[in-house]
Subunit: 321 residues, 2 copies
Amino acid sequence: MIEIGPLARSETLADAFALAAVEMHRAEGRLAELVASKVPLIHAVGAYLCESGGKRLRPLLTVLGCQAIGLHGDMSELMCIGELIHLASLLHDDVVDDAPLRRGRPAGHGIYGNAAVILTGDFCLAQAVLLAAKADYRAVKSLATAIMAMAEGEVLQLQQKGNLVTSREEYLEMVDKKSAALIAWCVSIGAQTVGNLDAAEALDQFGRGVGVAFQITDDVLDYGGPTGKAAGQDLRERKVTLPLLLAMERIPGLHARVETSKDADILGLMEEVRACGALDDTMAEARSRIESAVEALNVLAPSAARQALVGLAWFVVERTG
Amino acid sequence: MIEIGPLARSETLADAFALAAVEMHRAEGRLAELVASKVPLIHAVGAYLCESGGKRLRPLLTVLGCQAIGLHGDMSELMCIGELIHLASLLHDDVVDDAPLRRGRPAGHGIYGNAAVILTGDFCLAQAVLLAAKADYRAVKSLATAIMAMAEGEVLQLQQKGNLVTSREEYLEMVDKKSAALIAWCVSIGAQTVGNLDAAEALDQFGRGVGVAFQITDDVLDYGGPTGKAAGQDLRERKVTLPLLLAMERIPGLHARVETSKDADILGLMEEVRACGALDDTMAEARSRIESAVEALNVLAPSAARQALVGLAWFVVERTG
């Protein structure tokens, strides 16, 4: 059994990347090729998005998920699938949110227009499906299911926007669909393709926990962390996330004040959410998800890759941006 | 050998529908179920689009393609795949084109907003992929390739908008990707799934021709037919289609006048395009595509379904809306 505790947590993201450095480098090159349509505008939008960086957590989860069950060799195509779906969803989200910035640069739709951005998203989505079909028909089924969940999660969020009576269960369902489904797919896909169902189940469970914790942490960072997007955006849009849910449970009258808030009130309201301890308790929830996620890995034999997954999981809740 | 001539052309669309009436009815019910996400807003957008009708040519082509090679039984799921992709593309196009109307009713994005419409499109796309994966891994590969072609075709059109120096080859490449790729997939998918490669190749070729002719006819109808969209839209957007290409080849100075045209000039310019015979010659091109398409069916044994495909092909260029 792997030791879950201070030792495991001392792993850094850099260690995880180092373990898969060759694969990550290869996948980055493959990703650039995969968005290089012969149609110049698609190529331009795809390249713009690839070059704007990102943590590449999904390819990393894919390769570590493979290595943790003893799969090695060139898996760059498999690694690109989740990232292509992620890129497609960023492109569609840019139009959905109409956000001016993405990762600190002007969002694609501001430069290339909504139409090119939506259609390049469709192109990336189909490219990912094609790669999954080349890998394994089971990979396609689970991928399609994850894509449907993502769309449902996004729409659930959309429906809830401005509705301050969202429950914790509704919030968590939305987060699970929007963020965790794809992360779980990425980390378990290697096991799926070789039919190792026990490992696939464990890795899926790990990925669900990491994905939910990832999104919860994102929502906390919006109340103060140095993220790419302007902090306070969620509150400004009256988007109910766990920090606000907890704060409304604690501070009588906060609900009504958020409902009628103006731009000038946002900083003060954020300070109230922070001061009541809602952020700390939200992070405690995220950490508890990570603990369970890491525990799920116990069915796998100990390995450097399994250890790297543990480090990666803790990074998710310890990052500051 | 089937007789290609007046007899074949006397088939009507109603005959084709009658031949597959039970299957078409079943597929319509299945389609409604497939867009019925548990997320109410996705369900609403999907149902709105399903109820707004449409010719359901893609399910019809799928079932006739199956029957023409002797496949029978419940194929309603297979029939829904192409229609779901078509619906997804309509949803994304509504946002891309920002058109107020779709099939004579307010377009979905006007009622439900861009975000819900884009994401419901993604949901439909993933649902189609899931069905294809259930049917056959080969179906997924060719479907993903068709979806990529559609996105490329749409973006090619977008790039060309306002560029009056588009060549006939560029126009035809765009039309082949945008419209013909999915139609070819629909009519050949039955043959693909049973590994009947000769039939799949013939049906694919038939579908390509029908798809190109379908789009060419659409472009002619925009110069005068009673379509759902306001006639003259293409010219208003300086979208170069075959009628305008031919007219510009014939009328010296037309190019410059279209380039500087205002809304008030559109009716006069449309009349010029009609008067120079460009519409008749464009329709001749569409009919020649249909003739070749029908010829490709000669490798299949004669059957009522094959005959219905011939009727359907001619309907495509003979419809008035």
